[in-house]
Amino acid sequence: MSARRLLGRIVKWKDPMAMSDNSQHGVWNTLRRELGRMASDRVYLLLMLVLPLATFVFFITMFQGGKPENLPVAVYDADHSSLSRQVTRMIDATSSIRITREVDDLAQGKALLQEKKVYGLVVFPTGMEKDVYRGTAPNVVAYYNNAFLIPGSLLQRDIKTVVGTVSAGIALSTSEKKGSTPNQAMAQIQPIRLDTHVLFNPYTSYFYYLVSCFLPVMLQIFIMTVTVYALGTELKDGTASDWLDSAGGNVIKGLFGKMLPYSLVFLLIAFLMVIGQFSYFGMPLRGSLGLILFGTLLFVVTYQAVSIFFVSVFPSLRMCLSIASSYGAMAFTFSGLTFPYSAMPLGAKLFGMLFPFSHFLKLFIDQAFRGAPLAVDLLTIAGLSAFLVLPWLALHKLKRVSYAPEYWHRI
């Protein structure tokens, strides 16, 4: 801590002109000061525009296909019959699978699976076709790599559909030969039909599912990083008192003036993110766009609020960045999207409520995909808004550390 700076502050403090000049010291003054700081540090351009947009492009291009297609699968055909060839062709024709290999024994197939050259192995046993017509109901065996859950479940679904269709086709033609009408035959083969309604994402597209989640996940990390950095450097560089002085010592005005430019830039990006998903990428919008935009506004502001709280509680830039970014990196896991809350242990579920992102994601899914009634999301909005209380709890401490040289220049 340099003696000169301390002296400078004392001089300023004792200067009666500076005191009487308070009329000029307010939100606008702080805002002007902040714009200068933003312009002089390249970090802001990178973390507020370049990198957020780059990560958006990353996730959008990554999941653009919507669904993995033509995943490599091997076949071990010990039957060499027209039936086994027919099933092979049908499996190959599904969207998720491409038959890339034919193996001569199980060991070869197993090695391909272990080397991840294929995600699945379909086995047709010897005498399969004969057994079908002899009526001994043979089985096709499907192995699939479930260490990779998305390919695993796509393979499982498509192979099951193909084998089920082939089997039903054979049964149908047999009973029609015996003189049943097609309807009777169908009722014989499948007495109960499952009438499946896939709600809210009828094409089960991973694009909507993952993009709508990962863009805000990335954005909240950037909002917190920038906010903590903007406030924390004031402490690190010992300029915190200068900042508060610019607002006439009023910490509320100081925060408002300081945060405003960041709020505006991030709001712009967040609105672009939300509206772009609906207008450009055709994401379903079944509920209220107004509510989603209001939630987006809250999303940006609550993450700034949480960051202000963190800086006040951990008034050292590096420490606070570590904590804020660890918190940001965990938001996805505890949002309950891929691993739902109904499956999590209670402690993890409650922990999840401590992330504004969890509330925002629920609101977004409810309003964009599900078209939920507004009333059910009032509680979600309330949950999101609750985080706005945090900085008020910390105002006093923030003012104290900003004027306390012992908190400056901490590494």
Partner: protein
Amino acid sequence: MRKNKTGLIGGIRSVFSVWRQEYINILSDFGVLLILVIAAAAYPLLYGYAYSTEVLRDAPVALVDLDGTGLSRQLTRMIDATEEMKIKEMPGSLNEAESDFYKGKVDGVLLIPKGFAANIYKQQQATVSVYCDASYFMNYKQVLQGANYAAGTLAGQIKVQRAMAHGATLIQAKAQTTPLGLVETPLYNRTGGYGTYVMPAVLILILQQTLLIGIGMLGGSQREQNSFHFAILKGSTVNSALTIILGKAGAYISIYLIHAIYLFGVVFRVFHLPVRSSLPEVLVFIFPMMLAVTFLGLTMVSWFRKREQSIMFLIFLSIPILFLSGISWPVESMPAFWRGLAQIIPSTPGIEGFIKLHQMSATFHQVSREWFILWVMAFFYFGTAWISFTGIVKKHRRM
């Protein structure tokens, strides 16, 4: 001390001196300690806990029984008995069920329409409707699977009863309605557990990211304070960039070997994650990844002028890097550009090889390609770290 510490002995001595000094630097800097030691140890526990239940069991569903017959009640019991779901609400109409769904009480809705039993007895096809919520994929999958299972079980019973009433044997009965069956064998993660799926990749990622951030943070603050410990190398003719790199690397890798033993030996067992290779084998596999990550981290030190920059620019990358590893979105479906970019990141072959070796019971020979790539990365990043530190040392000598 002799004026010129020439020769190998002097060089080795300086390396150990840097090594020891680096331990002191880590221990005396709480921020670095938090990342390199505490985060790397605590993160896995937090994630492990969140995923400890592995699968969604007994997803709450609403069942609307408009039929109200013995058969519909039998189906209701079967639905309730599945592992996938549990009937939480029995509303009188679909509208009520919908409102239960929006209120978050249930994850899916099943409906048995009026005339369900009558259709069965008339030997006509009966239907059961299932409404599953594809905005949460796991809920969707469980509800659909459970509904399929329950309806299939009841249908199977009906089919067998009918066939046996006509004097058929059990196998004949099955062959009449399902002439070609399917046996599904999910490998390496039998129950489709989420923790089993994601934890191996996340643990490797945590090793890489904390190490990169920690190295960058230490390097950044040493540069910021101009306190690179070059003093000990004054007058030395040893290539001091090399000395610093080796000494620092020794310190980091020794700490991360302990982390690796903790993660693969302890964390996997605590959360009952499948272990399908021996600890020494995994350590041998992961060692070149640690070298590659360490040297990559040391290369990046020249980019970070301030201590906070490494965390600001590396944390957000963790999430894209996890996707680049191919654990979630299959490599085969990635755009070529991202696939190419993934090839410069140590965690890409690291995660792929580790999952094959440790989860898919591949032999070491079967992951030799990934192991080789990791060694190539280790040597490459060693070169870049050397270049980077030569620059830093020159700059500091001039000052």
